[in-house]
Amino acid sequence: MTDPLQAADIKQRLQECRSKEETFKALVTLSKTLPRLSADDKTDANKVKGCESAVWLITDDCQGIRHIKADSDAKLMRGVLVALISLVAGKTLPDIQNMDLKAELAELNLSSYLTSSRTNGILAILDRLQQP
């Protein structure tokens, strides 16, 4: 499980990127740390609507802590998912609901990757993270 330190680490890595190419490479590196979902988990119900690539997201609240599994058929999106999951790792649902995820996302220096059509998808992902 990811701890908050790793979230800080990810944030720092992304913030250090000085070009679109560096961000691209950082996301590719991050993507490799995401455990992939099995085909059984890639159901329609788990699919997040509105993303340009296919994204699946599963939340599981266990002893108060929200566990998140996610996957995408696009690599950069998997990198983004790693960053997003790190933001909420180890937290309870009420904690997550109290977070301003959009603001936290804005600090990750990903704006050039979250172009308008993709942003819709990202907002849908943030929504899922905060849904009971």
């Binding site: 070009s19 679109k20 190419e21 961000t23 691209f24 490479k25 590719v28 490799k32 340009e52 690539s53 296919a54 058929d73 696009a74 690599k75 950069l76 999106m77 990757y113």
Partner: protein, 405 residues
């Protein structure tokens, strides 16, 4: 006959930019082309020296605007080899032109009639017909491609005595192939169907002769042929345009109005309600002039040679599924197994290279090809061989970076 695209580049100032500190390489021309100075100047000049409403005031500027505006119609008519300038109707673009026909022909359709399109259609030449079918009880039918992307050998039987409308693209925006229009249009005409050709992807590259094509309607957008956005054309034969019910009514399109009735104006005004896009028409005429002043066969040969160069390099590199034809096309459309096209697109963008990734507004075609999307590099007259090579090199780099797990 050697063509040098470098000579054209100064006419397109936008191309001299950098994107993310790389020289900008614009290979998304099938989405929209860049505009030459001649077009920018024509629009500026119109507003600086000739702006007034058309067909209305009797004063110096209004006469000047009207004459430039109607001259633009003549230029476009000549560009299309249309017999009469009144057969050229201004629209917002190809999409609006197709919708005008789909609404305008509603009254001729009966339940059980057939509207025939092809597998290659852009949503713009599909959804309006599908919705028309829903409204009228007509049936939407599709001339299919085989799984390898070829036309079925026997497609004649799709044209039946119930076929009332046949609408087909001239060139596919998604995979760049050409529709066998002469055969298909002849089959449609044998059945007495109205015929519409979507020329959105053709006009920038190929000489179009609507009289020779002999279709009832031909539509295109100005912005894909070096003209401005927000202007396009519905060309129609006289009788075909007269059958159309105006889908918008209001000023300009009327001859006399009382509270009891309205007498519509003659063509082309009957189908042009409201103040038209005057600057757009003037800009589009400038784009037609720009093209007419070029050696068009040499331009086309150049664009095709760039596409063929990229096709050949991609094929040689291997591991790439190509959907566009090897030759006689101005774009390359492909996907790479196990790498998402939006990831490839993102890397290319980071290198300053603009292409298009996705379904190209052709979901049913993508489903038939068995892909969710393709990456499309589409060429225009100002692209260089160096750009084509930079694109290939960057693509191979992207495959290297993205393909390692």
């Amino acid at each position: 006959m050697v063509f040098d695209s470098a000579l054209l580049r100064p006419m397109f100032p936008i191309l001299a930019q950098t994107a993310y500190e790389h020289p900008l390489i614009y290979l998304d021309n099938a989405a929209t082309t860049q505009k030459p100075l001649a077009v920018l100047d024509a629009i500026q000049t119109y507003y600086r020296t000739g702006n007034a409403n058309v067909h209305r005031g009797a004063h110096f500027l209004s006469d000047r605007a009207t004459s430039h505006f109607e001259n633009a119609r003549t230029v476009v008519a000549e560009f299309l080899k249309a017999p009469e300038q009144s057969h050229v109707i201004w629209t917002k673009g190809a999409t609006e032109a197709i919708n005008m026909v789909a609404y305008g022909l509603e009254h001729v359709l009966e339940k059980g009639d057939e509207i025939l399109i092809t597998s290659l259609e852009h949503h713009a030449n599909l959804v309006p017909w599908q919705q028309l079918a829903f409204r009228t009880g007509a049936r939407l039918r599709v001339v299919p491609l085989t799984s390898s992307g070829e036309w079925e050998e026997e497609f004649a039987h799709y044209f039946t005595d119930r076929t009332r409308i046949f609408a087909a693209t001239h060139i596919s925006n998604a995979i760049g192939c050409t529709t066998p229009l002469s055969t298909m249009l002849a089959l449609a005409k044998q059945q007495g169907a109205f015929t519409l050709v979507d020329g959105a992807q053709a006009v920038a590259h190929y000489p179009v002769d609507v009289s020779e094509l002999d279709c009832d309607f031909y539509v295109f957008s100005g912005h894909k042929m070096y003209g401005p956005t927000g202007i396009g054309v519905l060309y129609g034969k006289q009788h075909a345009l007269e059958v159309l019910m105006p889908y918008q009514t209001g000023g300009e399109m009327v001859r006399h109005v009382s509270y009891q009735a309205t007498e519509f104006n003659v063509l082309p005004f009957r189908l042009e309600a409201g103040t038209p896009n005057i600057e757009g028409a003037i800009g589009l005429a400038a784009a037609c002039d720009f093209l007419s002043e070029q050696n068009r066969p040499a331009l086309l040969a150049w664009e095709q040679s760039l596409a063929n160069h990229v096709y050949t390099r991609l094929k040689k590199y291997g591991g790439i599924d190509l959907y566009s034809p090897e030759k006689n096309t101005t774009l390359v459309s492909f996907s790479v197994p196990n790498i998402h096209v939006i990831d490839l697109n993102a890397y290319l963008d980071s290198q300053g290279i603009a292409v298009r990734a996705g379904s190209h507004c052709a979901h049913p075609l993508m489903a038939q090809l068995g892909v969710t999307g393709t990456l499309r590099a589409s060429f225009a007259c100002y692209n260089t061989l160096e750009e084509a090579d930079r694109f290939c090199d960057a693509l191979f780099d992207a495959m290297e970076i993205l393909g390692d797990d």
